[in-house]
């Protein structure tokens, strides 16, 4: 399957080496051009645990620059480039702006006419002074853009606070995004009643709403109930012990889940105020072998100005022992 996704040169029967070689004339195949180069002929990647399968690489080698790139640990698209637009990290001669953390560096002695050391350089170009082109290759002019026309909340990037937030916007005079899509304005919770920041996230054992995974006994045994992770400081404040049932409540509703008290959450200091954060797992619902409260009962119906993606990862709640 991985080979099919990588693709083949159908005239030779060999795995395609790069998306640059893919054609629209029926002589090549590829399940996804981005993944072309992930599975090459065994001779081209003999040291991989599964020869040729570059995603199976488990080499921790971080040379030449040791910046934590680890180019031989697994593979990423496209063509194993780990940082895109990486030619923006070098000057016009191809030398890194940051000598201590080079991503790529032009090496005139490499190959026949010179090449790049480090990451796979974005756009097969030479340094600008040797006739190369601008690094932001997905834009027609090759530059990064500060001005983004065509956006509902552009053209300049700005920081806006979430619809429900415990603090005033410290960066902009405009508290929230003026182009939010707000379906139920009366459901906004205020920080005096709901002072705790809440986010919702996943666990690896379950998937999405859990309709499939919450019917698989071994998976349920490994991750049986929805829970709310909170800091030791918040738990102490509320008299909550690890494993207690707690009620997490927002302006839209409440859920009862298990408290998971952890050192991995720490309270924030924001504008001089201590602000707590909790996280609720959102894979549960009322059907299946394992049922439990659905975290999306808590979330606000507010859509992103451009994509309408709901703001489910930043809202306000209060927490108490059940």
């Amino acid at each position: 399957m991985a080979k099919e996704i990588n693709g083949y040169d159908l005239t030779t029967g060999k795995l395609a080496a790069s998306f640059a070689g893919l054609r629209a004339d029926g002589t090549t195949s590829s399940g996804n051009w981005l993944y072309c180069n992930s599975y090459v002929e065994p001779e081209a990647e003999p040291d991989a645990p599964i020869p040729g399968n570059r995603a199976s690489l488990r080499n921790l080698d971080d040379s030449p620059f040791n910046i934590g790139l680890h180019p031989k640990w697994a593979w990423c698209w496209p063509v194993n480039r780990r940082i895109i637009y990486n030619r923006a990290s070098v000057d016009l001669d191809g030398n890194p702006w940051d000598a201590e953390h080079p991503v790529i560096k032009w090496n005139p002695l490499k190959g026949a006419t010179g090449g790049w050391d480090g990451d796979i350089a974005d756009g097969p170009a030479v340094p600008m002074n040797k006739g190369g082109y601008y690094p932001f290759i997905m834009k027609p002019e090759g530059h990064a853009r500060f001005f983004g026309p065509g956006l509902a909340d552009g053209p300049f990037p700005e920081h806006y606070e979430p619809w429900e937030t415990p603090v005033a916007n410290a960066v902009s005079g405009q508290q929230n995004n003026p182009a939010f899509k707000i379906w139920s304005p009366q459901e906004q919770g205020a920080p005096d009643k709901y002072p705790i920041v809440c986010s919702t996230y996943r666990v690896c054992e379950h998937w999405q709403g859990g309709q499939m995974t919450r019917n698989m006994p071994w998976v349920i045994e490994a991750q049986p109930e929805p829970f709310c992770e909170m800091s030791e400081e918040l738990a102490a404040e509320k008299g909550i012990a690890n494993g207690d049932k707690v009620v997490v409540e927002s302006a839209r509703g409440k859920v009862e889940v298990v408290a998971l008290v952890t050192k991995r959450f720490k309270p924030f200091q924001m504008n001089g105020t201590r602000v707590h954060q909790v996280g609720v797992i959102w894979h549960w619902g009322y059907t299946g072998l394992s049922t439990g409260d659905s975290a999306n009962v808590l979330t606000p119906h507010v859509g992103d100005a451009n994509t309408m993606i709901p703001e489910y990862k930043a809202f306000l709640v209060d927490v108490r022992k059940a």
Partner: protein, 274 residues
């Protein structure tokens, strides 16, 4: 025959617990998992560790530890299952030979021979064997990781790696000749030390005569919840190595002595009659 082993690299483990589930799936350990039919409730007791302990149907589980030193928080994962010791206390005390040393080095287990005596439970310095038992009748059986050599489900004899090793996505678990894994483990510990992890340690190189499940750790064993100096309990040595042979000697001497007495006394009795 080269001895086999598993190498667990705690620095690569992501605690996905695929190993935990793969072990259950392969060994058909599904008596206690929650289903509508068996009425077992699924409960989270405030941890990612589910089930919360080893059990007759949970031979392998991952442990999670949040360790904070000087403001640095690390989330450490420890594999927990039979360590397959070379000098296994459980094999030493098992009266029926249900627990034995496999030729490949690990501790094999034939559940059909288990007498339910429970001696192995107290003799294990890692607290691994778990058993079901009836308090009144005493009928009991033990269960533990068999290195995927359970009769009828034997992966090793077919040339496959154990189920946990096969599943592991980041190859935190690898299987092979123990000598090779020792070399790989030592080398990885050196790499960790070079990165400033001065307490990095290869656990299982020498402990209990050498473990067949070895751990690459980036800190001391105690930080990962492993006993620093596991040993076969002194009581089992006194019992198996001292008293047991003594018992044979005493029993044998008694029988021989009585036999001699019978012959001699009989002869004297006849002498008297004459």
């Amino acid at each position: 025959m080269a001895e086999k082993a598993i190498l667990y690299d705690a620095t690569r483990c992501t605690a996905c617990r695929g190993c935990q589930v793969a072990c259950k799936q392969w060994n058909e350990n599904d008596e206690y998992i929650p289903t509508v039919e068996n009425g077992v409730p699924a409960k989270n007791t405030g941890s990612y560790e589910n089930p919360p302990d080893l059990s007759p149907s949970t031979w392998l589980k991952m442990e999670f530890r949040e360790v904070e030193t000087d403001g640095n928080l690390r989330w450490l994962f420890t594999r927990r299952a039979c360590m397959h010791c070379t000098d296994a206390g459980c094999v030493k005390v098992c009266p029926s030979g249900a627990l034995y040393h496999d030729a490949l080095g690990f501790v094999g287990y034939n559940k059909d021979l288990c007498t339910g005596c429970g001696y192995c439970i107290e003799a294990c310095p890692f607290d691994v064997p778990r058993y079901t038992s009836n308090v009144l009748t005493g009928i009991a059986r033990m269960d533990k990781c068999t290195f995927c050599t359970t009769a009828g489900l034997n992966r090793i004899v077919e040339g496959y790696e154990p189920a946990c090793v096969k599943t592991c996505p980041p190859d935190a678990l690898i299987y092979g000749d123990r000598d090779e894994l020792l070399a790989i483990g030592r080398q990885r510990v050196e790499v960790l030390k070079a990165k400033g992890k001065s307490n990095a340690y290869l656990y299982g190189e020498r402990e209990m005569g050498g473990l067949h499940v070895m751990y690459v750790l980036d800190d001391s064993p105690a930080v990962y919840g492993l006993p620093a100096a596991p040993e076969v309990p002194a009581a089992t040595v006194a019992w198996q190595d001292v008293i047991q042979p003594l018992g044979w000697v005493v029993g044998g001497a008694t029988i021989v002595g009585l036999g001699v007495n019978y012959i001699v006394a009989r002869a004297n009795a006849h002498k008297e009659e004459k």
